[in-house]
């Protein structure tokens, strides 16, 4: 066991896979010699050398395209897009190339790559460097999408992503990079498509992702302490594949559903899950499913404004309590 930051877990996760498989290469802007702008890849260049760990120009389309071409022909590339907001400058690869080649070719081609990216708010960076864009990827058929909330999950899901034969978009949360967590020694390999019940409860199911997981947990503790409300918190972890068994199982026990989403409201992952639960478990629900999201606005830079934009522990707890008491 060691205590690692989420940031250190990224480097360890990548190193674990690069050490295991010589076909794993890693590239992106400032990721090699400088160790990445979030310092999440420090040491990889020194450990694996300039052939396997490479600095690129500011050419996101070339980065993504090169990752794809390498993946199609036998490598297992990990490519970094520094901020997930920049998916917008290379979205063709995410939406039209990675996920469609296998299908269009009737199974002839493959695309086993990982795109890792810094996602989410909290750094006071403003509207173009703070977005939560998991739904940009979830909505595209053919991708897999994960967003770990702990250092341990970072390593385990990174390993699962690298070993997966399909394109995986790996969302790291910028505001979690400094967070520490216990990590077992030795190889860690998790499974894509498995949600985790991180706090059992009986009164409601609360789904959360990435930075929203610790907040949902804090809200849960608050509700338990102050109101005796026991909510079950599920860390969704993987949006595609989506672990509906765990989610439907939980709702079947608690009969109420809440989502805590960092993304702006419209078409977030919570919308999808609510629509599935409302269809498949309608008669399990004792009250309306409620989504707690960032309002549907661009994000402001100012700290006090950013703080109230994202779901806070307070807002999560209050929304749940009011809904349960209604």
């Amino acid at each position: 066991m060691a205590e690692l930051t989420y940031r250190e877990a990224v480097a360890r996760g990548i190193a674990q896979e690069m050490a295991r498989d010589p076909d794993v290469i890693f590239f992106g802007e400032d990721v090699a010699k400088a160790g990445g702008v979030f310092k999440a890849t420090v040491g990889l260049y020194e450990q694996f050398g300039p052939k396997r760990v490479r600095d690129t120009p500011i050419s996101e389309q070339a980065i993504m395209g090169a990752a794809m071409g390498a993946a199609m022909t036998g490598l297992k590339p990990i490519a970094e897009i520094m901020f997930s907001d920049f998916f917008a400058v290379c979205f063709d690869y995410i939406a039209n190339e990675f996920p469609k080649g296998r299908y269009m070719s009737n199974g002839q081609t493959k695309c086993p790559l990982v795109v890792r990216t810094g996602n989410g708010a909290g750094s006071r960076f403003g509207a173009q460097h703070s977005q939560s864009v998991e739904n940009w990827c979830m909505m595209v058929p053919g991708l897999k999408v994960v967003a770990p909330s702990t250092p341990r999950d970072v390593i385990g899901l990174m390993a699962a992503a690298v070993r997966d034969p399909d394109p995986v978009i790996f969302f790291e949360h910028k505001s979690l990079y400094a967070v520490k967590g216990e990590v077992p020694d030795g190889e860690i390999v998790d499974t894509l498509g498995s949600a985790k019940v991180v706090r059992p409860g009986t009164d409601a199911t609360v789904l959360a992702l990435a930075l929203m997981v610790p907040r949902a947990l804090a809200a849960a503790e608050k509700l338990a302490a102050a109101h005796g409300i026991q909510v079950e918190v599920v860390d969704v972890r993987s949006l595609v594949p989506l672990d509906m068994q765990t989610i439907l199982g939980s709702v079947g026990r608690t009969h109420r559903l809440f989502t805590v989403e960092e993304n702006p409201r419209l078409c977030g992952w919570g919308a999808e899950i609510v629509s599935i639960v409302a269809d498949e478990a309608f008669y399990d629900l004792d009250g309306p499913p409620v989504r707690i999201t960032t309002p549907h606005i661009p994000l402001p830079a100012a700290d006090n404004l950013e703080d109230i934009a994202l779901p806070t522990v307070e807002r999560i707890a209050q929304t749940i309590r009011r809904a349960l008491e209604a």
């Binding site: 290469i25 052939k51 490479r54 690129t56 120009p57 050419s59 996101e60 389309q61 070339a62 980065i63 993504m64 395209g65 090169a66 990752a67 794809m68 071409g69 390498a70 993946a71 199609m72 022909t73 036998g74 490598l75 590339p77 063709d92 690869y93 039209n96 190339e97 080649g101 296998r102 299908y103 269009m104 070719s105 009737n106 199974g107 002839q108 081609t109 493959k110 086993p112 058929p141 053919g142 897999k144 997966d164 034969p165 399909d166 498509g193 595609v240 594949p241 989506l242 672990d243 509906m244 068994q245 599935i276």
Partner: protein, 345 residues
Amino acid sequence: MVKDTGSAIQEVTRSVHNDDIGEATRLELYRSQVIIREAEQRAYDLFLQNLVKGTSHLSLGQEAIAAGFATAMKPGDLSFCTYRGHAHTLARGVPVEKVLGELMQRDNGLMRGKGGSMHLTSEEHGVMGSYAIIGAHLPIACGAALRAQYKGHDDVSVCFFGDGTTNIGAFHEALNFAVIWKLPVVFVCENNHYMEYTAIHEVTAVKHPAADRAPAYGLDGIVVDGNDADIVYRTAQTAYAKARAGGGPSLIECLTYRHSGHSRADPGKYRPEGELERWKERDPVKIYRERLAQFGISEAAVTAIDTEVRKMVDDATQACIKAPPPPEDILFTDVYADGGWAWRN
């Protein structure tokens, strides 16, 4: 072929008639062009009979480029094509039936109708896909070349695209990327002088959309006659040799013209009168027939190829007409590597 690092790029419109290529290869080059010509013409006829569905982008008039670059390849070399990719797919040896079957969206098609005319892919022939979003495949070809370099393989990735494609961002990113990492990739611009219906000179800041950009990446500006298969073949050989020797990428602009419209529905009315006719005088198949004669290859040998190809295309057509549509269950296969499409448990 003329290389020039400065801004005044010379165009070569006629090949030097030396005999370095040899009869066997010349017959191969001819056969390849005739296969493309006949198959594309057949595709057009089948479209008129409502048997080719969706869209389709023909390479009639551009056969020499596909034939020249493919004939100079070794097995294992990789082709990356656009929606106008039938020619390159055929030139790598993919059976005509597979191509026509895909255009007709039948179960015997190369991808059983799942991809369609714009996405021909044959991994076993090194045809690593046809990409229908302009520019997307240039970076992808870089990635395949990166793999070759990383693994010490000696294959070359060859990426075909049009003149219009030189104005999109991915072109620029790919070229720079390929050069800084010295990747074994060859970028081939088929300058047929038009994007869809707009003349390329109306929307491009320089005369040679590809070659005039080459120096921006430290590359030689290369413009060749794309209707002369010998010239194309030699140009390809040089570029492949450079790539295999670790000399990095090349960017080659081949001047050509499409005889048909941009895609199935286009009558091509935007072209000035006489332009098509002038280019038809420089029809690559015609040029090459003359070339074979110049090198003393018998008319019988040429006619034998014509006849054989015609029969091949006829047979393929019959097989396609008889082939069933794809079964409905393949709608849900091969989204993911497990063969299925499950996004949830």
